[in-house]
Symmetry: C2
């Protein structure tokens, strides 16, 4: 499908993409670069990509270059690689925000390069080149946010690449993407980080108690609150407006719920608690989560044989 | 260990307890009752307990009676069964709040009955007699909150019962339990219900989009927001003070975090996002969660063979 494909950044997503592209032989060469010499060495040992020691060499002659670094680093990377990208190359990324990415990267690019931002809605709480695996994107959605006037052929080639990596592909504009993801990913992460922080700081309950009794619900939040801090810092620095908008709605709703608890309004509580079950069912119906109790993580010989 | 043991309420927890007690033969008779005739019939078919058609018959001659109904129903049940409990019987429960349970149940009990409230920190998002399984309590904690002056022998017998069901046992006073659980379970559930409600009501993002892109983090919240509405309504009606106290702290912390996002304070964000990882590690270290990425729910042939 492609000649040389280069991942810049070889953490969870970059290494998973290399595995996924290798699995279906989507490129004649799968190349990689990481700013960390340790990560480059580890990636070379793992062998999922041909690892280059400079950005320039990594992107030279590549048909497709995918930025897989924290989005705060994109501007510098774009500035460095722009003169070395070949004519008609596709430049893409996997960042969790899209408006800021267009803003930071576009100014550096020559006309002859097709910049088509992308965001695979997939991941785990783990980081680094050892965390990657080929099936990470299977059955998940990848959103492309081509700028106005983007080359239709380049968009189609990128769509086929993501299909080859196991994903379904949607196309929307960057601003809508950023709002949708603020709701389905960014604010949930912020809330999870926040409640884990609250538990950490609460004097009346020891950290040992929080940990021992976490199976009551708290542990579900700790998974996403264990995600990569640099990546998530950059998300919140670069999707401020949409995050604050959704967070405002969350806070309004929480005030109403807090009042219902204070007033002992059982009817209002019951109504909300019933309504939210339907969304879970829909997520299970389209295969975006496991239907097994507790996500299937508590292996029970009676239930999971 | 016991003669007749009776579960009142045959949903997820009651049926799981019956399975667990049966697995290790902790009683000569495992008896059950449910207010719903349908549930009684289904439980009888499943065969995990001898099902009685009245509360009176179910508790008659029982050495241990465990309330497994929503805590809002405890007062009525206690009033009905009190005259039929045998002398020296142990009465216990599995409710998620403990102060309100002591308040509601104690007034009806004769002196000769030992009331030792308990709370297993275990569950799934599923409900009903079909959802139960024997290993639900394995490796989880069960908290006993005996009132002042409780019979030490009765507390010890109940501890051994829960050990037999697979749990480790802690003892604390009811007020502290209610605060600890507000932090590790009740407020997390309230937050999860709230954010799922916000997503449902947000006009600018369709429900279809929320569902499709839920793998970005949102789906983690939908699991606990699918828990039994009646049970959770009763929790919030009966642990108001502790829930509002923890929620107050959560809100304070969230205001600080919101300000950090608004100010673009990357250092503050990075500091919090790094700190929360340690709690996750501790939970994994003591075996209270799965270390597999995404709770192990995304079965990947390469990673989970």
């Amino acid at each position: 499908m492609f000649g040389k494909v280069t991942m810049i950044g070889l953490g969870l997503i970059g290494s998973s993409l290399a595995h996924a592209a290798g699995r279906k032989k989507l490129a004649t060469e799968i190349a990689g670069y990481d700013i960390s010499a340790d990560v480059r060495a580890r990636a070379a040992t793992l062998g999922f990509a041909k690892v280059y020691d400079t950005l320039e060499a990594a992107v030279k002659d590549a048909d497709l270059v995918i930025l897989c670094a924290p989005v705060g680093a994109y501007g510098d990377i774009a500035k460095t690689i722009a003169p070395h990208l070949k004519s008609d190359a596709i430049l893409s990324d996997v960042g969790s925000v899209k408006g800021a990415v267009l803003r930071d990267v576009t100014p550096f690019l020559p006309q002859a390069v097709h910049f088509i931002p992308a965001h695979p809605i997939a991941g785990t709480e783990q980081s680094g080149p050892d965390a990657g695996f080929a099936s990470l994107f299977d059955g998940r959605w990848c959103i492309l946010t081509p700028p106005e006037g983007a080359d239709a052929g380049a968009v189609e080639k990128l769509r086929l690449f993501w299909n080859g990596c196991g994903s379904q592909v949607d196309v929307m504009d960057a601003a809508h993407h950023d709002l949708v993801l603020a709701m389905t990913s960014h604010v949930p992460h912020l809330i999870a980080y926040n409640i884990v922080g609250t538990a950490h700081d609460l004097e009346a309950v020891t950290e040992g108690e929080v940990i021992k009794y976490s199976a009551g619900g708290f542990r579900d939040f700790t998974r996403i609150a264990a995600s990569d801090p640099t990546m998530w810092r950059d998300v919140f620095l670069n999707n401020r407006q949409a995050v604050l908008e959704v967070l405002g709605r969350f806070n309004e709703d929480l005030s109403v719920l807090q009042r219902a608890v204070r007033d002992g309004n059982g009817e209002a509580l019951f109504e909300l608690f019933s309504r939210t079950r339907a969304i879970r069912r829909s997520i299970l119906d389209i295969g975006q989560d496991s239907a097994a109790p507790n996500f299937g993580r508590d292996k029970s010989p009676e239930k999971n044989q």
